[in-house]
Symmetry: C2
Subunit: 126 residues, 2 copies
DNA sequence: GAACTGTACTATGTGTGTTAGTACAGTTGT
DNA sequence: ACAACTGTACTAACACACATAGTACAGTTC
């Protein structure tokens, strides 16, 4: 269910955070669902437990999950809402990316048609 | 002309590379123009000469500049063309970013109107 | 020859990512 | 009660990237 690219220059804990966010958004993990335990996931991915916990701690601090000592880590009911808010705050960064591509000679229509294509792909896979 | 954010988590040499690319794209630096010398720029930015050279070496390896020992570092005639090619290769990455925002509930129309706005800003500033 | 240019090299300090090992408190199921 | 699980906290060590410091050499410009 969760895979990690050990050769990536992106930190493992960072990849894990993004993966879990993605699984929450795609409703694979729903509110109050039980996440894999730190130890089991560390065995499954052949990664140190501390690295897994670092990701879990981050998710918990971001309000996306809540932890119960002895029971486990669960998806927060407000997780999807929070992820939506986070995405809105990334719009300026997205704009800077787009602006850079426009400056480099990429056509605005090309970017917009790409977005249309991605959007229709998304809708058809729901 | 060139500024650096020392507090940014982004490496200085990386910021410098992006700045110079930007200046080439905006025709502040044209083909065969003379870039600031390693030492003068290191003084101007209060940054170690090695850090400047790291950026210059990268630009040279990317074909954006060429160096002449004893004379200096100059903008390659093919620089803008290369930057255009680089931008095309970044489209998948841009698409992944857009897809993530769409998955998070951002509307496709909102992204497209953002691109339109950036494009018209760009055209009016030429 | 003096003053500039790019380039190369070693050494050092700092921060981050990762692994390793240990320990403790709470929950679950037998 | 006990064993096996859960999250959490902590120290130690290693590797790597970024940046700084200092020195050196070859080529150019005036």
């Amino acid at each position: 269910m969760i895979t990690i690219d050990l050769m990536s220059r992106k930190p493992i804990y960072d990849q894990l955070i993004e993966k879990i966010k993605q699984l929450i958004l795609s409703d694979v993990f729903s509110a109050n669902d039980h996440l894999p335990s730190v130890r089991s996931l560390s065995c499954q991915l052949s990664v140190n437990p501390n690295t897994i916990q670092k990701a879990y701690t981050h998710l918990c601090n971001a309000g996306l999950t809540y932890s119960v000592a002895g029971k486990g880590c669960f998806v927060s009911p407000q997780a999807k809402e929070i992820l939506g808010q986070d995405a809105k705050q990334e719009l300026p960064q997205f704009g800077a990316f787009a602006r850079r591509l426009l400056d480099s000679g990429i056509d605005a229509e090309q970017l917009k048609s790409l977005i249309d294509q991605l959007d229709s792909e998304r809708r058809s896979s729901l």
